[in-house]
């Protein structure tokens, strides 16, 4: 039978573990934004070679399940002589996978701008650098905010997979809790509630930002 007290008891250890969920997904998206910006620049470059590099990067990272990528990175790092805690591998994998999606989000946002926006800048005699920093990027970034928030929500959920390599985040902690109390239903339900709470907050943040950015 469902035990309310063990359900409630599970929240304290899981909330502690949520720090790692937030760390992995938060750092993941932050680094993903940086790498994604580079990939996006390559994808929009005039050189065919750079465009191909970007296309392969995006296609590989979007084609391979995150769990598989996580294990590849986890076993690759020691082989190439990098001995770091599992959480570093988790953050690296998350960031790299996120970069593929983020670069596509930004590319899409930039391509979605009407051509006339840059034409007006060119016609007035603006330098390409100014038309990027003043006209294109401010609009593309605002346009991409809802999708970036959505990506962050996806990452929070995907971070449950790093439990597999032993990072003590929400899912791993709920497994531990279930193992100790023999109450898996309550432990996993508590985990689900915690994820839901985080994601509802992020969704609300997204709506607020979208509302603020809308001109």
């Amino acid at each position: 039978m469902f035990s309310l007290s063990s359900f409630l008891d599970a929240f304290w250890p899981l909330t502690m573990a949520a720090r790692y969920t937030l760390l992995v997904s938060g750092l993941g998206i932050a680094l993903g934004l940086v790498i994604g910006a580079f990939v996006c620049v390559l994808a929009l470059s005039k050189s065919r070679v750079w465009r191909t590099v970007a296309a392969v990067w995006v296609s590989y990272l979007r084609g391979v399940p995150m769990l598989v990528q996580l294990l590849v990175v986890f076993f690759l790092l020691p082989v190439i002589g990098i001995d770091v805690p599992a959480i570093v591998g988790a953050v690296v994998t998350t960031a790299i996978v996120a970069s593929a999606y983020i670069s596509e989000i930004w590319r899409g946002a930039i391509m979605a701008l009407p051509k006339g926006q840059t034409e007006a800048a060119i016609a007035i005699g603006m330098r390409p650098r100014d038309s990027w920093t003043r006209i294109i990027l401010p609009q593309a970034v605002a346009l991409s905010i809802p999708q970036l928030i959505n990506e962050l929500i996806l990452l929070v959920k995907a971070s449950s997979l790093v439990s597999v390599v032993g990072v003590m985040e929400i899912t791993r902690a709920s497994q531990a809790q279930a193992g100790v109390t023999f109450r898996p239903l309550e432990a996993y339900l508590a985990a689900a509630c915690l994820y839901l709470a985080i994601n509802l907050c992020l969704a609300a943040l997204g709506r607020w930002l979208e509302h603020r950015m809308a001109v």
């Binding site: 007006a120 007035i124 005699g125 603006m126 330098r127 001109v215």
Partner: protein
């Protein structure tokens, strides 16, 4: 009064792949006068207009602004240095069919942006100048609004102010009233008339025959990439000799009879 530019178009050809969009166009646009480009859609009039500030690259021939070739170092030669091209463009104002205002900036910021980035003006001066330009087009009370809060006619007047604030010697209008609801066309045409009266060289692609008839100094008719005729409006619009112009005007009148 700033001096007004002249434009000399000589043997200009333009291809889109196999499609021959502009065929050996010769046209002289005198300083301080209004030239209207008319013709059926797809005739190449917008392409020709966009060749004047090299937004569209022509493949052969010459476009000279005050005797200076735009886009190329020499006729048929290398592309012009970007910096020089930008410098030439900054003296040519352009107004688009879709306004192309920057939606993340207020009306005033839209006008000031070019002054700051291109003219190197300081922000306070640029904003002051933008305010003057907006006042001249009758939008003194709308300066702080974003484009989405303005009607189409107001947006297009902001776009004109944005171009005029740069002190251009030549203004290009690409179907400036085609995207507007009929009741908003007048306010934009009035601003354009005032500009014309001030002695600005203007090239206007338009479907507004009334504007062409009353404001233009010369009207050029294009069809299928060819310049069919150029003349003063009274002759070309009232007693055209070429059957292609006659049939275009007949269709136009039939469509506009209520």
């Amino acid at each position: 009064m700033v001096e007004a530019s002249s434009v000399e178009i000589r043997k200009v050809n333009k291809y889109y792949g196999q499609f021959h969009a502009l065929k050996d166009i010769d046209l002289t646009i005198p300083p301080g006068k209004v030239t209207c480009l008319i013709g059926p859609s797809g005739s190449g009039k917008s392409s020709l207009l966009r060749c004047i500030n090299f937004l569209e690259e022509y493949d052969s021939g010459e476009v000279l602004i005050d005797g200076q070739l735009i886009g190329y170092e020499t006729p048929g030669g290398r592309r012009m240095a970007p910096r020089r091209l930008r410098q030439m463009r900054s003296t040519i104002g352009m107004v688009f069919q879709q306004f192309n205002l920057w939606p993340h900036m207020t009306a005033q910021e839209n006008v000031a942006e070019g002054l700051i980035r291109v003219r190197g003006m300081r922000k306070p001066q640029a904003m002051e100048r933008a305010a003057e330009a907006l006042t001249r087009v009758g939008l003194a009370d709308r300066m702080g609004n974003h484009p989405s809060r303005l009607s189409g006619g107001q947006q297009q007047r902001v776009a004109i102010a944005r171009a005029v604030a740069m002190d251009p010697r030549l203004m290009l209008f690409d179907e400036p009233t085609s995207a507007l609801d009929p009741e908003l066309v007048g306010e934009v045409l009035n601003v354009m008339k005032a500009l014309a009266a001030g002695g600005m060289t203007m090239v206007v692609v338009t479907h507004e025959m009334g504007f062409a008839a009353h404001v233009a100094d010369q009207v050029a008719f294009l069809e299928a990439g060819e310049l069919v005729g150029v003349d003063v409006p009274s002759r070309i619009l009232r007693e055209p000799e070429d059957p292609r112009i006659q049939s275009f005007l007949r269709t136009y009148r039939e469509r506009n009879v209520i």
